[in-house]
Each structure stands twice: as C-alpha cells, then as structure tokens.
Assembly symmetry: C2
C-alpha cells in the first residue's frame, strides 16, 4: 500500500499497488510516498478517549466504522459482536497513546481488526472526529463537550451509551434528485420522527461528507437500516 | 386564594387569605385581584405538547413538578407512580387545549392532582418552559427543537424518554458560599460525571432560577437525590 506523505483523507492519497512500476509512476508525478504492508482486514474499529492536562483519561465505547471506497459511511456503537476483552484492549491502547503523546482533548484512534483477530492502529486524530459524532445523542457526554472539559482541565463527563444501539450514517454529496433537501427533510421527519439529522452547511461535492444521521434504539440491525435509509434519501437532495 | 391579575410568577402575586379584610388591604394597595377556591392538592403535574400549523400534535410524558414556596424546585420524568390512564387523560387534556386554542409551538400545561385524584388546570405557558427542560437530555427531541419543528411546520420529533428516570433540580440564587461557582462546578463534575449542568448567565438574586441540573438513570429516587445534591451545592456559589 502506497500513501502520500501529506494531504491524505477519505481514501485520497492511498494506492493499492500491484508492482513497483506503479510506484515509479506516482513518484514521477512528484508525489512523496511511504509504503506499508497490506493488511488483511475483518473490519475497521475506532476508539476515542479524552485526556486532561491533569492526566485524567476517559474512554468511550469502541465503535465499528464501515467504509466504502475509503470513506467512512457508517458508525455502529457499540461495535457489534466485539468481545469485551478486545474492547478493553482497544481502550487501553488508546489510553496509552494519549498518555505517551501527552494529548490534551479528544483523541480518536482508528483501528484495523485483522482477519487473525489482531488490533492494529490505522490513524490518529487529535480532535473531535467523524467516528465520534454518535456521542452527540448516543453518549451521556458528547465528544465536543468532552473536548472542552478536557482542554479546560475540568473533570471529564460520563461516556456511557444512552441506548443499547446507536447507528450513524454519513450523508455524502450526491447527484441532484428531483426533490430538494428541504422537502426531503420534511419527508424524512414524517417517516422517521426519531432520526436525528445534522447537516454541516458545506458546499456539496460528490462523495463529500455533508452531514450525518443518528438513530438510537434497541437493535443494531434496525437502527442501522433506519440511519442508512435516511442518509441515502438525503444524499439525493444534496446535488447542485 | 387571591391572585394579582398581572405580573404573577414563581409564587409572586398569590396570597392565601383567611378573611375578606386581607383582600381589602391588598385592594387598598392598588392590586387588581381575582379570587379562586382553594384546592386540596396531592401534588403538581405538568404535561407538554407541541402543535404545528398543519395540526400535528405530539405529547411528552407527564412529569411531576415539585414546588417549594411557590417555586418549582424539581421536575421528575415520568411522574412517579402516576396511573397510565391518568397520564393519558393529562395528555389528552393538553392536546385538546392546544387544538381549541389553535396553538402553534410548545404548550406547557401545569396541573394540580387533587387529593381526590382529579386533574385541574393550573396554568398554561405557550412556549418552551421550565417544566420541560428535562427534554434536553431526557427526551429524544428537546422542547426547543420541537418548538422550531412546530413553528416551521415540520413533522414533529419523537417524544419518548432516553432513560427510565430523569430528574431536574433548579439552581436557585443563594447566599455566597466560601467557594465560587467555577470551583463548585469543578467539584461537582468530579463527584458526579453524569450530572448535566445548565447555567443561564442571569444576574443572581436569592430564589431566582439561575440554572438547572439534569440526571438520567434507572431509579427515580437515585437520580432525584443526585440532581438535588448538585443544585444545592451550586446554589451556595451563586451569591454575589
């Protein structure tokens, strides 16, 4: 796997290469690369911790992040079917990273769960992060409040779930549909009064994260279907 | 019970009279009065509905409002020990009032539950209301979002509880304690990481509602104790 050393996100700046000639072609374009071993994945997970200057650390439940073409399209909390020991391992890993790097505020740790069941660190984000938007309604303390508490050196807030199952689906920029976003919101709220919609007011561009929908409930399969249906419906209204 | 015809709130402008001379004394002061029969109360309840111009109505769970000296000091959601039939009766009453008065937005209906078990309307507030602050964390849709949805004629949001038991305790203006509000917040967050504190930035005055604390959990007795302890602790830091 070749990665550009700067400017990579949402799958940009990442190439799966079959032979060294492809790397040469990239280098000829002036891209500065690092090369890593390809990992056989079962899925991607993420864990989030907050740390204060005083040294208090609070860890959120581990989530599964579902990717499509290098872009995170869904977040499921807690990560379905994750063994409790594995969850604790992920949280301890994040706490250790936050402590050793002397992080203040929110740290999101993106993880690979390999086919062999091992946890590998994929990426670090030292800020409130897309993989933590579920905490706005799904955790007792949102990542944004937690970040402020940490930075202000206040004691950190409770990180537990507010429902047994929480699903977030990202609203990506899409093609213009026949119906605009205002009317689509209206229809969505009528169809699903429990869907929580967040639109970021960003300029629409195909594949760009323009917002997200959070659904809380008892069954992860059900909340996932609702969140996904809502995000897909809104996507079609986001084109120019 | 004599009440001033204007300007009454938080127990101001209400007098429990023993004989007509006391009413004369008030009238001599230039107060314009209405007089009502005294009601034997078991407790006070409140119910909240939202109504859109299109005519959709959504009712929140009925809550108990605990009063001290005419001021609401606690709100318990759902109202402990309230018979489900009584709760439905209260919600239907509020829906009927909202519909007949053609209300758009949030309507809070304050109720007396009499010793005989009857529901009587005490007061109406056609706006987001102190008795509905529990919805910020305790309901799937807060009263503020619901008000906007209603006014914008959007379909209304889910009104169900996010936890089995929700308690709010109001932070009233108190006497200056030895420790200021910032330090008190710090101590509170350390002692109870799940307490949700809202301070309104109002000028402190003894007995004035300066904020509230919300606690969510499984047992109403426990969340009530936590909310009350938090509000009492903060109160002492609110003096000048």
């Amino acid at each position: 796997v070749a990665k550009a050393t700067t400017g990579g996100y949402d799958g940009r700046g990442v190439w799966l290469l079959d032979d060294p000639d492809q790397a040469s072609a990239l280098l000829d374009q002036g891209v500065s690369l690092i090369v890593e071993e390809r990992v056989r994945l079962r899925r991607e997970l993420a864990t989030m911790v907050a740390r204060s200057p005083w040294g208090q650390v609070a860890a959120y439940p581990v989530v599964e992040t579902v990717q499509d073409g290098g872009i995170c399209v869904e977040v499921l909390a807690p990560a379905p079917g994750l063994h409790p020991d594995r969850a604790v391992e992920a949280q301890q890993l994040a706490i250790r990273i936050a402590t050793e790097l002397d992080v203040v505020g929110i740290l999101a740790v993106e993880l690979f769960e390999t086919s062999a069941g091992q946890l590998l660190v994929n990426e670090l984000a030292m800020r409130p992060h897309n993989s933590g938007h579920w905490t706005i309604e799904g955790a007792r303390t949102s990542q944004f409040e937690q970040h402020l508490r940490a930075v202000l050196d206040y004691p950190l807030g409770e990180t537990s779930l507010t429902a047994p199952a929480v699903a977030v689906a990202n609203v990506l920029g899409g093609d213009p549909g026949g119906v605009g976003i205002d009317e689509r919101l209206h229809h969505l709220f009528a169809a699903d009064p429990g869907a929580r919609v967040h639109l970021y007011g960003k300029q629409p561009r195909p594949g760009r994260k323009l917002g997200h929908v959070t659904v809380l409930g008892d069954d992860i399969g059900q909340v996932r279907r609702r969140a996904r249906a809502a995000a897909r419906w809104l996507r079609e209204g986001t084109g120019d």
